[in-house]
């Protein structure tokens, strides 16, 4: 494996500045790594090699003139939720078959404006609905991590499973991701990567395939807190194309990492000590508390009494907004069309075939809770509960600067072990979903390992628009525990088997079911 793929964004930035290597070399090293790993991991749905090499050449030209941007020449993976002009974007749904956007999402455009290079599009749960990447139409992405002495395929988490898997496996230096109920932070925790969901409104949602508009927020997945700070700064910013985008100055998050931390007040919400939490997670949390004490922080216990209500309220609000957002997929303007006896039959057949099981389930839940006579009992009630959740945080943040919690109640689970029971899968988000409901920034940082060798994450929750303090606190965890080591590259251990599959290597991932011809570009 090339040493270039092991570099952090900050290291690569310095190396490019010093002309130790070129952006084209960085991109090529990543494509070599992707070709070796992707048949096993299925992280990339498609690679945009030509585009990457031309972007890298342009970066090298700018670097030669000393005019590089903040991410000049840095190769990144893009979650398939972000519209990329001229490059297929499906949100891993059959219903968006062959959709080629004529526009670029604001978040990705911001990254390209900063000089970043696109490697390709990354696997995810269909429409970001899932916690294991198993709802993807293009088959699940696999975690690069395995339990010690066990080669069971593990979930990389979801919905940003491809982003987390690619960054952990050194197939991208960073990746875009999105978080509606934990979809950045849970996969980051499962894969030993760093993931931050900024305050709602920090990143423009323009060009992001919508799931639940009042909760969706973009953010990066990287390998260090510093890299998260670097990438997040470029992703954020006011955008007139998104009415919910915050017109608030974006600070230099990287600079904030250097600020002194002594006297930081860290809250420990007692309601997060839930039944069924693994003892390892509990021990990890205690270790995190000890690290903050050692760093000079003050620890206090806080109460968020409506924590238990967040998940059920989320499973009203998110499906309601999803059912409304996904009404646009009707077989008329883009994507899949299944012909029927009349126009309504066409809609019904298209939507039945185009949406997967989990998406159909959530559309039905959302349709019901918004239907005549039930709106007050469900949606309005959930939005009132949401106000109470937000109020809990507001009150707790009067006495603390950040909160420290585990990111997930358990380490990563094996693919196929939770997909049969939707409710069990939903419980994965128990520590992350509160943050979306209140619109707060949340960061997951690797903090240790389970007994069988799987990475575990701790979460920092901050005040609205105070990502600086959140990242500084995250740096404490990383400094104490060290950045997560790379997973063992088991996918390169059988060169014969890999060589036998060589012809399939460079092609885009095939969908699980056969269907009519699709367009794979790049």
């Amino acid at each position: 494996m090339s040493v270039l793929t092991q570099l952090t964004i900050a290291q690569a930035r310095d190396g490019l500045d010093k002309k130790d290597f070129t952006s084209a070399e960085l991109a090529s090293a990543h494509f070599d790594a992707i070709e070796a790993a992707n048949p096993s991991l299925n992280a990339y749905l498609l690679m945009t090699r030509e585009q990457a090499l031309s972007m890298a050449a342009a970066s090298d030209a700018r670097l030669a003139k000393g005019k590089g941007g903040a991410l000049e020449g840095i190769p990144l993976g893009i979650k398939d939720l972000f519209a990329t002009k001229g490059v297929r974007t499906t949100a891993c749904s059959h219903i968006l078959d062959g959709f080629i956007p004529a526009y670029e999402s604001t978040v990705t455009q911001n990254l390209w404006n900063a000089g970043a290079v696109m490697l390709g599009k990354l696997n995810m749960d269909e429409f970001a609905m899932g916690s294991s990447n198993e709802t993807s139409y293009y088959r699940p992405c696999v975690s690069p991590w395995r339990r010690e002495g066990d080669d069971a395929k593990l979930a990389p988490g979801g919905s940003s499973g491809g982003s987390a898997s690619a960054v952990a496996a050194r197939l991208a230096m960073g990746a875009t991701a999105s978080d509606t109920g934990g979809s950045i932070r849970q996969p980051a925790a499962f894969t030993g990567t760093v993931g931050i969901k900024p305050t709602y409104g920090r990143c423009s949602r323009y060009g992001m395939v919508a799931f639940a508009s009042s909760l969706d927020q973009a953010g990066p997945i990287t390998r260090t807190v510093r890299d998260a700070a670097i990438m997040l700064r470029e992703m954020c910013g006011h955008d007139a194309k998104d009415a919910t985008s915050a017109n608030i100055a974006v600070p230099d998050f990287e600079k904030a990492l250097g600020k002194k931390l002594k006297g930081l007040k860290v809250g420990i919400p007692k309601e997060y000590r839930v039944d069924g939490m693994s003892p390892e997670i509990d021990a990890l949390w205690e270790k995190g508390i000890a690290w903050f004490k050692a760093a000079g922080a003050t620890i206090s216990h806080v109460s968020l009494p409506h924590t238990h209500a967040a998940l059920p309220a989320y499973y009203i609000v998110a499906p309601a907004e999803a059912s409304s957002n996904l009404a646009r997929y009707d077989g008329v303007r883009y994507g899949l069309r299944v012909n029927g006896s009349d126009i309504v039959d066409m809609y019904e057949r298209t939507r039945a075939e185009g949406f997967g099981t989990e998406v159909r389930r959530r559309i039905l839940i959302g349709t019901y809770v918004l239907s005549a006579g039930y709106y007050d009992a469900y949606y309005l009630k959930a939005q009132k509960v949401r106000s109470l959740i937000k109020r809990d945080f507001d009150q707790a943040f009067e006495s603390v600067d950040v909160m420290l919690t585990p990111t997930t109640p358990t380490p990563a689970f094996a693919l196929g072990t939770k997909s049969a029971n939707p409710l069990e899968m939903y419980l994965n988000d128990i520590f992350t979903v509160t943050v979306n409901m209140a619109g707060l920034p949340g960061l997951s940082v690797p903090a240790g390992f389970s007994a069988d060798g799987l990475p575990l994450g701790l979460q920092i929750i901050g005040k609205p628009f105070d990502e600086e303090t959140v990242l500084r606190a995250g740096q404490v965890i990383e400094d104490a525990g060290g950045p997560c080591r790379a997973p063992q590259a088991w996918w390169t251990e059988t060169p014969k088997a890999a060589a036998a599959k060589a012809p399939a290597k460079t092609k885009a991932a095939k969908p699980a079911k056969s269907s009519k011809k699709r367009v794979d570009d790049g």
Partner: protein
Amino acid sequence: MQVDEALVRHIARLARMKIEGAQVAGLEQELTAIFGWVEQLNDIDTAGVEPMTGVAGLKMRPRADAVTDGDCAETVVKNAPLSEDNFFVVPKVIE
């Protein structure tokens, strides 16, 4: 709450999604379980609580009432499964 076959079919119709025979029974069970689970919200006193309408407390500002886009019909229909002369083509709606 018990979700029965009639309700599943009613919601599916509202959502414009065809649900085939075998899927109905599974959905009855799953939706019954999920709606049963969210009913715990009824135990929370929300009297006098305003429903949340925005997390960030930011005011939306109206933009200028000006044309910012257009003259791109060809681009708009480019991804359509079926189009003709820059119109979307759908099955006949009016007899």
